[in-house]
């Protein structure tokens, strides 16, 4: 390999964290702009708006967990395997998969939260529970992305 396999693996972890941060940013931007518009109408919904607008933030932490796992656990095992270059490239592939999952689910959870925030003042805050429930569905995809990445790493013998 022209590139060191550990560097490819670190690139995979970095892409995963970048995807998580980008997804969280997009999601919080979408729900936050709906929140700012809602608060100008009904400032008493501040507590509910903050709860809903903060939901997409968790992607950044899932991605951070994955980056730490790759750097601390997967990279030391690369050199032990039969084909270090291929293992590094496989970790890069898994990082891209996790980035897709975190990025898309963060951004789309933001739009669910934004729709919930827009209904807050009409329902006097009662839509909060239902909106959180629907947002948790999208959350599930990010958790699955983390779990399946760890599963794929362990199937490749890197975990």
């Amino acid at each position: 390999m022209l590139i060191d396999p550990s560097a490819l693996a670190a690139l995979g972890g970095g892409i995963a964290l970048a995807g998580g941060l980008a997804g969280s940013s997009l999601g919080i931007a979408i729900s936050g702009s709906a929140g700012a518009a809602m608060l100008s109408q009904d400032p008493r919904q501040l507590r509910n708006v903050i709860i809903l607008a903060a939901l997409p933030m968790s992607r950044a932490f899932y991605a951070f967990i994955l980056l730490i796992l790759i750097i601390t656990t997967a990279i030391p095992k690369i050199l032990v395997l039969a084909d270090p270059g291929g293992s590094g490239f496989s970790i890069l592939a898994i990082g891209i998969m996790a980035a897709l999952s975190f990025g898309a689910s963060g951004a789309c959870q933001g739009s669910v939260c934004a729709a919930g925030i827009a209904g807050l003042s009409k329902t006097k805050g009662k839509v909060l529970t239902n909106a959180i429930m629907l947002a948790v569905f999208v959350e599930l995809l990010a958790v699955l992305g983390l779990v399946f990445s760890i599963m794929a790493l362990s199937m490749l013998g890197l975990m």
Partner: protein, 159 residues
């Protein structure tokens, strides 16, 4: 090959699961935002809304099936082939088929479910059966993506 054929195959499987996760997120995001708006209007439709919102989640599992099949069955076969490098690249191509099928079908299934959800209050929930039927049409494309990927892998002698 600079990159080992096995790691190209892992990239194919990871892209398939990544496409499934991203598509499910987008689909759940569309359907969920419509559901949050509908539930603000009529909280009694919670059960029907949740049934419709969760439909696009299945494409993630089709992607997961492909990743597991590639990691467990296809990769051990690659080194036995006359042209391992080409076979690895072919598995990557099959992964791209699966990724586009799962991503696009999940996202647009979300659009079908979103339209169904927005009409739940007007029809007092009676639209549920019809929109389930229409959503299953889009689901079929996700299943076909899984089946054709497995078919292509077995026609290449990798399965």
């Amino acid at each position: 090959m600079l990159v080992s054929p096995e790691s190209l195959a892992v990239l194919g499987g990871a892209l398939a699961l990544g496409g499934g996760l991203a598509g499910s997120s987008i689909g759940l995001g569309w359907a969920g935002s419509s559901a949050a708006a509908t539930l603000a209007e009529e909280p009694g439709q919670l059960r029907n809304a949740i049934v419709l919102v969760s439909l696009p989640m299945t494409q993630t599992f089709y992607g997961l099936i492909i990743l597991i099949l590639i990691l467990t069955t296809v990769i051990p076969n690659i080194s036995a082939m006359p042209d391992p490098g080409g076979s690895g690249f072919a598995v990557l191509a099959c992964g791209i088929i699966a990724a586009s099928a799962e991503c696009v079908s999940a996202a647009y299934q979300g659009a079908v479910c979103a339209s169904g959800i927005s009409l739940l209050p007007k029809t007092k929930g009676q639209i549920l059966t019809n929109s389930l039927m229409l959503a299953v049409f889009v689901e079929l494309l996700g299943v076909l993506g899984l089946v054709f990927t497995i078919m292509a892998l077995s026609m290449l002698g990798l399965f």
